[in-house]
Amino acid sequence: MQSLTVIEKLEILADAAKYDASCASSGTARRNSKGGKGIGSTEGMGICHAYAPDGRCISLLKVLLTNHCIFDCHYCINRKSSNVRRARFTPREVADLTLSFYRRNYIEGLFLSSGIVKSSDHTMEQLVETARILREEHDFRGYIHLKTIPEADPGLALRAGLYADRLSINVELPTDAGLTRFAPDKNPRQIEQAMGGMKAAMVEHKDAGKRFRHAPRFAPAGQSTQMIVGADGASDTQILGKASGLYQGFRLRRVYYSAFSPIPDASAVLPLKRPPLIREHRLYQSDWLMRFYGYRPAEVMAAAGEDGMLPLDIDPKLAWALKFRDQFPVDVNRAPREMLLRVPGLGVRAVEQILLARRHRTLRLADVAKLTVSIAKLRPFLVTCDWRPTALTDRGDLRSLLAPRTEQLELFAA
């Protein structure tokens, strides 16, 4: 077989990486290239350099080192028994591509993962080597995210953390049963052990960083994970339960949800239809409620129906409000921050502005309207000095009055 050119490999190995949801490049230590030999900077907020027609942003060169794999996970396009075209980059080729894209301001850095070739350790070594070339040989100061191989020697993951901004280990599926069924070569215990090891290393390095000024940084952007939604039968409450367990147990920065996509060469144990994308969106919204709106996991789960699924036609915040109507209406001029945050349609920004504004005046409905996107959907849940929704919150058809409310999505747009 003729050997592939770099551009052909890029096509194959980027295509194989497109099922990874994460592309974030934010939340790491501030760096720039002044006083160095190379290029690159990170200034807290990551930058999305382009958007693809699937609406997702492109901020990193997201590729696989190789899509050869000795594992046989059913949901994965690179599974051993799949017929896809295979390709393999050398660490140096990936490093060169990263630099060449970075210099032209196409990307913020690299997100590198890999199929498992030869052995887990060998693969992990190659990932680390790529990061080493970038950092040590080229003094690259942009963002690096490595997806680590949980089956590899923990010592390698520790080395990875010294080069990378972020490390991730995918839990893949929300339940152990799902994992056993769809990823027979993976072991849920091993995945959690690897996450635990990573968390310990981060805590330790942070601690050392406080005491010694020159202590090396270890994955300053923390660790994240990804779960595939809709491949197995797990319900939304199971998924959210798993996510909140992970947030607490391993102090993850982010849990990404990836709606299962039909993949070429899928095996028949998988559903052939993708779950509605809106389901993935509802899960992200629930995630937001927990991370930024002060909802406890159990509360978000209470917004789900008896089947454990969040409603698809309305967002989880509205679903919660409709279910716990006795908490409403909320008095805009008096309610504490936490309660204002529970009003469907009021985002964090609007709540902050209400809190500031009400120090100066008693707010009328029209004042609130100026601070929010649409007052119509807020009205049933609010009391202002000139408005009280009387029986509106008790109306049986309130849900149908408010749904579908596509504008609500905007509030959560990441």
């Binding site: 551009i7 890029l10 194959i12 980027a14 295509d15 497109k18 099922y19 720039n32 290239s33 002044k34 030999k37 690159g40 900077s41 930058i47 999305c48 350099h49 382009a50 958007y51 693809a52 027609p53 699937d54 609406g55 997702r56 492109i58 046989d72 059913h74 028994s81 799949s82 017929n83 591509l97 060449s100 894209f101 210099r103 032209r104 301001n105 196409y106 049963a177 056993t180 069924r181 769809f182 027979p184 709606a259 996509s261 993949i263 070429p264 060469d265 095996s267 028949a268 144990v269 998988l270 559903p271 052939l272 993708r274 994308l277 500031l356 504004a357 100066h360 005046r361 100026k370 601070l371």
Partner: protein, 476 residues
């Protein structure tokens, strides 16, 4: 005295040296406040902007009295104003001055987010920040050889607001060791690794037309998006069309969008045909497998062979696939291997008629050799695809124990390949609570001779005996 002041003696016209010169605005604004010049008596402009006409004479600023009160401006205001002054709207200077003026009477004026001026200021600052952000994101450098050797990276960009200078620091910090230029219709920036030089406005044709890395980048862009999840609105919201003309990858968007639906359909088709819901009776599965063409085996000249046996059988025996005779007879385990199996089952005291017998793969895979059809083993992928059907059978029969004959059958149950020698002789729990036992396929015995065969027959018999015993335990 300038022209405007001459006509309306109580008015002041202030001309700032540049569109984004906050410090000059601040000096003028401070003096005006101290002299008590109300906002409606000041007109502001900057070179190249609206109102330039009146600026001809250049306005003299009023000189405040020595004991004029200090002008007060909070930190938030200064920060917001510094950003908002980069906005392209000519009314921004006046808005800033009006707010500064109001500030003197009410120091909390900025906190009232319902106030129209405050909201306008925030809107200005927000669009400037967005423009700054978009410039950081959407500038695309192209490499050019320089006369003195080495490369310079040159970009053409068209900002909406006056943000070029404000944004320079970002590019300096990021590309400190590169030589680069950013050209815009309002001015240009040049960095040589040490110093930043501002240059005159440029034209698009001053910038290079392409870069060899763009082919790679476009290929990356086309490959990284998932055609199964088109969301054009979300893309447009963050990357409005006005930026597209300077981004090499954007030219691909129309064809990517047009091809996406087709690609998704192809992806689904490559996976298998549309499955819909799996039938819930054995009869319906029987019917469905006859139409199944999810894998290439179904396209051969053969018929699907359904499992057989009682629907409530406690034991399910799984073989690899129907053979030549099974295909003709339309029944599992009727050929030579079936006869070997029967003999051993009998010796182990297992009643074949009380078990549900089936195969991991439903169609006979073969290659024609003259009049004969030579058996070919199914691939792992074919087994995985056909697993859909046997899982349906298992869900209906709900056996307490499953006996897999050979590696293909074991894979079908476990989803992964195991070695028979290591897996045999012990139970493997399945997720529905039943147990899987694994042994060799009887056709394997048929291929052996003499001692090797005796040895394997013994092992096979021992496996069946263990299964019989366990089955008795399980069914009480």
């Amino acid at each position: 005295m300038n022209a405007l002041a001459a006509v309306t003696p109580h008015c002041h016209a202030v001309t700032l040296p540049a569109q984004d010169d906050f410090d000059a605005w601040r000096v003028a604004a401070r003096a005006l406040v101290q002299c008590g010049v109300a906002p409606d008596r000041v007109s502001w402009c900057a070179p190249g902007g609206e109102g330039d006409l009146f600026a001809a004479g250049g306005g003299e600023l009023p000189v405040p009295a020595a004991d004029a009160p200090q002008v007060w401006a909070g930190k938030t205001f200064v920060q917001l104003a510094r950003t908002a002054i980069c906005h392209a709207d000519p009314a921004r200077f006046a808005l800033l001055y009006r707010l500064l003026w109001r500030h003197q009477a009410n120091r909390q004026v900025l906190e009232d987010r319902a106030d129209a001026d405050v909201r306008r200021l925030e809107d200005f600052a927000r669009s400037v920040r967005r423009d700054i952000h978009k410039m950081r994101a959407f500038v695309r450098f192209r490499a050019v050889e320089e006369d003195e050797g080495g490369e310079r990276f040159v970009a053409w960009f068209e900002p909406e607001h006056h943000i070029l200078r404000t944004n320079a620091g970002f590019f300096v910090r990021r590309f400190a060791n590169m030589r680069w230029s950013i050209l815009t219709p309002a001015g240009s920036l040049h960095w040589d690794g040490d110093a930043l030089v501002e240059g005159p406005p440029a034209q698009r044709s001053d910038a290079p037309g392409g870069d060899p890395a763009e082919d790679l980048w476009r290929r990356y862009y086309a490959s990284i998006f998932n055609p199964a999840r088109l969301k054009i609105g979300a893309m447009l919201k963050e990357m409005p069309r006005k930026y597209w003309k300077n981004m090499p990858e954007a030219a691909l968007i129309p064809e990517l969008v047009a091809g996406a639906q087709q690609r998704e359909a192809a992806m689904v088709k490559a996976g298998a045909s549309e499955a819909g819901e799996r039938p819930e009776t054995l009869a319906a599965i029987d019917k469905a497998i006859h139409q199944c063409r999810r894998c290439p085996i179904g396209d051969l000249d053969n018929e699907a062979v359904m499992g057989e046996g009682p629907q409530d059988a406690p034991l399910m025996i799984v073989g690899e696939q129907p053979g030549d005779q099974e295909d003709l007879a339309q029944r599992p385990f009727v050929g030579p291997a079936g006869r070997v199996l029967d003999a051993h089952l009998e010796r182990a005291g297992i009643d074949r008629n009380a078990a549900y017998l089936t195969n991991a793969v439903k169609h006979f895979k073969f290659v024609p050799r003259g009049k004969r059809r030579l058996h070919h083993s199914p691939t792992a992928k074919e087994i995985d695809i056909c697993r859909w059907w046997i899982e349906g059978e298992r869900a209906i029969v709900q056996p307490r124990l499953v006996l897999a004959l050979g590696a293909s059958a074991a894979r079908s149950m476990l989803g992964k390949t195991v070695s028979i020698s290591r897996a045999r002789g012990q139970p493997h729990p399945l997720e529905d609570g039943s147990e899987l036992w694994v042994t060799a396929h009887p056709s394997y015995l048929l291929r052996l001779k003499d001692e090797a065969r005796d040895e394997q027959e013994r092992l096979f018999q021992a496996d069946l005996a263990a299964v019989a015993e366990r089955l008795a335990e399980l069914t009480g």
